[in-house]
Symmetry: C2
Subunit: 204 residues, 2 copies
């Protein structure tokens, strides 16, 4: 949809948005392997076929590039993990769908280096700054989403009375992350089956 | 103990070993925060008060420095996590001691950035090379140690018959890593209590 009466400006904006999306797709993959600190404007230009000046024009500073990359990764995560779960009715069915889509998101390497947020948390956890804050917010949001899904299952009487929702959310997300980390390091799919087994027992 | 008949050479060797230990102590801390890739000979020289030439003389290439840092981190891990557990008799008591010493090793920030191996796995998991291989070996050894401790508890009849040792080892290490990662990111000790609660239930 046009937001301007000037078709020349509209065209430039559309091309800018397309370039930005193309560069972001390269950036999230690169960052999932080399880390957000490894994401240089030079490497990104080389890998996306743009000039350095073009990348700077799109993102400004390296910090802005990191923040834009985190935003783009959140969008990908929503599409692959959150939306398929939201398509299921709330409660235990959604919790099973959510953990299933998460394991598949990691196993199928939606990001080349496995879960983008696991890599970024480990990289930036001890390095204060806006990128670390953005990752911490994303992780709090994710933990909160799992926690609310557990709450809903409890409200519907689908989990034992007395279940501690924060505790269950912690255990589920630890098992997901554990599977991701071990699978990448050992080059095996077995950790995903182990996480599925453990989570199914927690939700039984 | 002297290994040479020449006291001058002995003195040089002793000073070399002391310098090396001092530099390694800085290196493991730096790497736990900035990553093994962030460990430059220049930064290490600046932070340890040595000349760049002195660091190069001690370690040679950056790759050799990374491998020496991983070895040093393994020693620290043995001292803080493995040895206190080995002091307990094998089986469930050792498993409780082992998970307790691991949680304390992470909580007390023996390494400034939390568990060295969690950070290094996330950083290098997708980046082939000798450093990645060394980390993968260290992680396999650790998983193997937990697994053998579970086996021993099973042999002694301290865990339910039919317990899958590899599954239980996966769940325990995922909960430990989950506590480490979340504590660093959220700046809270609560994840350690959650991991303890979950592990106590698994071992009950």
């Amino acid at each position: 949809m046009s937001t301007s009466a000037n078709p020349v400006i509209d065209g430039r904006r559309a091309r800018g948005a397309t370039s930005r999306r193309a560069v972001m797709a390269v950036a999230v993959d690169l960052a999932s392997v080399d880390g957000l600190e490894g994401l240089s404007i030079g490497t990104l230009a080389a890998r996306s076929g743009m000039s350095k000046g073009g990348v700077v024009a799109l993102f400004g500073s390296k910090e802005q590039l990191q923040l834009a990359t985190i935003e783009a990764a959140i969008e990908v995560f929503r599409e692959h993990v959150i939306e398929p779960a939201l398509a299921r009715s709330g409660g235990i069915a959604r919790l099973r769908a959510l953990t299933g889509s998460w394991l598949e998101y990691s196993r199928s390497r939606v990001f080349a280096g496995g879960c983008f947020f696991a890599a970024a948390s480990a990289e930036l956890g001890s390095r204060p700054g806006p990128a670390r804050d953005a990752i911490a917010t994303a992780m709090r949001d994710w933990q909160g989403f799992v926690r609310r899904t557990v709450d809903r299952a409890l409200d519907r009487g689908e989990l034992p009375v007395g279940t501690d929702p924060a505790q269950l959310a912690f255990e589920i997300t630890s098992l997901l992350d554990g599977a991701n980390d071990l699978s990448i390091l050992l080059g095996s799919d077995e950790p995903y089956r182990r996480a599925r087994t453990a989570i199914d027992r927690l939700l039984a």
